[in-house]
């Protein structure tokens, strides 16, 4: 995975470099929007992290330029401004996610991975969380290198959870995504699929956490202990 960071603050950029490297990413950093635009045309990045408050051309303008040129790379905005206006403008401009400084490092990595997963789910590629891998092309899942046999519905539930992670996916949204025009899936049915998946995931660090009253989150066991 190759990440480009466009950020002019050296202390932050230097830290992010180590954080992304530690999470297994290849990392490039540029300080201006103009140079970033050139780099993106030459290199296929898996993710671009952009600070909105750049000198010269600002982050929002950079995002618009990138999208105008037809580049589909997922974009994560970093900003010091927390107003909703900025957020809406950023997302409308073509960004995929948004984080306000200062942020938790772990959350940044989780969001970065989620963005990459989602962008890859559109292509026929493999998306993963820890030791869980799902091959979108051939509809085959692996857990710790071993094949994980899944029924059609179980595949759908697990794929939705994997694409949503690290976010909590509500039961109703899960049910909606499973429902087809001829069949309505109830939230009770969702609970049954989740319980079957839990049995199949048992013994691996991948787990489905229940958030009472909302829904589920797919996570790695370690995340609950990491501070």
């Amino acid at each position: 995975m190759r990440v480009l960071l466009v950020e002019d603050d050296t202390m932050l950029a230097d830290g992010l470099k180590d954080v992304f490297a530690g999470a297994g990413f290849m990392f490039d950093q540029l300080t201006t929007a103009e140079s970033a635009l050139g780099a993106m045309e030459l290199t296929a990045f898996d993710l671009v992290v952009i600070d909105l408050g750049l000198p010269g051309m600002d982050g929002l303008e950079l995002i618009r330029c990138v999208r105008r040129r037809g580049l589909q790379v997922p974009i994560l905005i970093l900003t010091a401004r927390d107003g909703l206006d900025d957020r809406v403008r950023g997302l409308n401009g073509g960004a995929d996610d948004y984080m306000v400084k200062p942020f938790a490092t772990r959350e940044l990595i989780a969001r970065a991975q989620a963005l990459i997963r989602r962008s890859q789910s559109n292509s026929h590629s493999v998306i993963s969380l820890g030791s869980l891998q799902m091959d979108m092309g051939v509809h085959e899942a692996c857990l710790g290198g071993e094949p994980l046999p899944l029924t059609g519905r179980e595949w759908n539930v697990l794929q939705s959870l994997l694409l949503a992670a690290p976010r909590v996916l509500s039961k109703t949204k899960l049910a909606d995504s499973l429902s087809q025009w001829d069949k309505e899936i109830t939230t009770n049915a969702v609970e049954i699929y989740v319980s079957r998946l839990r049995t199949k995931l048992q013994g691996s660090p991948v787990l489905i956490r229940t958030v009472h009253g909302v829904g589920y989150r797919l996570e790695l066991e370690a995340t609950s202990n990491v501070q």
């Binding site: 400084k101 829904g215 989150r217 995340t223």
Partner: protein, 467 residues
Amino acid sequence: MSNRMPTLRAALVRTVLWPALVLILASAALDYKHASDVARLAQDGMIFKTAVALATRLSPDEEDESSADLAEHLSLEDIAMIKTDPGDEIRFLVLNSKGAVLVGDSELQIFLPLLVHGEVEKPSYSDQTLQGEEIRLVDFSHTSRGETQRVLVTETSHKRLATARTLALNTVWPNVLLLLAVMALIHMGTRKALVPLEKLSQSIDQRESEDMTPLPLPQVPGEIQSLVGAINRLLVRVEAASTEQQLFLSSAAHQLRTPLAGMHMQIELALEDAPPPVRQRLTRVLGGMNDLIQCTQQMLILARSSALTNSVHDFVDMDLAELLEDAASTWLDAALSHSVELVFEIHPTRCTGSRWMLQQLLNNLIDNGIKHSPQGGHVTLSCGMDPDGRAYVQVQDQGPGISPQDQAHVFEPFFRNREQTVPGSGLGLTIVKEVADRHHALVQFMDTQIAAGLSVRVTFPRFKPLH
């Protein structure tokens, strides 16, 4: 509006009423004097005529040398005629040139020393008192055939005084009525003239505190237009100051948050491969760093939400349930690291508000709930519509709660109670209150008597769709 200053109406009535009263009294006095003069003139004419009649009838005959018994010349009818006046009593006294009484009331002699004997044929009038009554007296001397008679005629003044009083009252009453009518008209007139002013103050009262649009000028009278103009100029200045503050906050946010993010990350990285003694110190630094970050965030949020004078356009119709669902993702990791479980009771909840501000409100309630709950505790987040059709959101924790004496103060910025051991900026509930106020919502502590922690409920006004 304060009632200490006299109202315009009262001031107007006062400035008109007193001078008008003085004028009316003065005019009444003048009227009385005038009426009095007229009545006196009439009375004088009457008694003079009587005096002339007496003097001429009593003229001695040419052949009568002695004027000893002039009284006989005065017939009884004459006397009756003179003396019969229904209202007033007429008396007379006739003296010869030597001062001897010829005929009449000798009582009148007491006035002789008081009177200066004037010229012949020229009456002189004076006011006198006889037996406690005011009387008018004429002193008239008449010469006929070398004989001069002096005639005194008096008349009590009842009729004259009554006439003067009637005349005066007849002119005073209309004046008083006129004054009352003018006062009533002034009262009505000012009330009517002040209607636009009252409307103006109502329209200002009904405004949202964030509304900075200028007041409409054409609807107010000319005298108030300059005031409205001044208010409008003030509004422009306030709006400019608020915009400036927003810009300042925006750049302050950038200047503060970026280095904080960098430092936080550097400390985290240093912590990963630090030897144990250094690790201990760094953990403390990281803790302090987190406090600093939270405090900065909250101060910026507070400053921003109070500076959001134009935030009405930020208000949208929304479902609080979605906000709570988002909060599940945001706060799950923090809850897990405190070994606290988040429990949601979510119902569809229609509400109008600023998404960003309500997020801050929820964040602060949830953050408090997680921090104050014991390990293994629950933080319950619920939202819904109450029986009155008002949206509410409620966060309940299992922490120590807030004592009743502290409840009055927890919304004050930087308030910390003495036993507090949980780190925090002391701004969380201030933000909750600020955001609630902006939404005309009510913040309540529920069931605080029960030892099972703190429950904060925010109740919004009845939902009215924006569009």
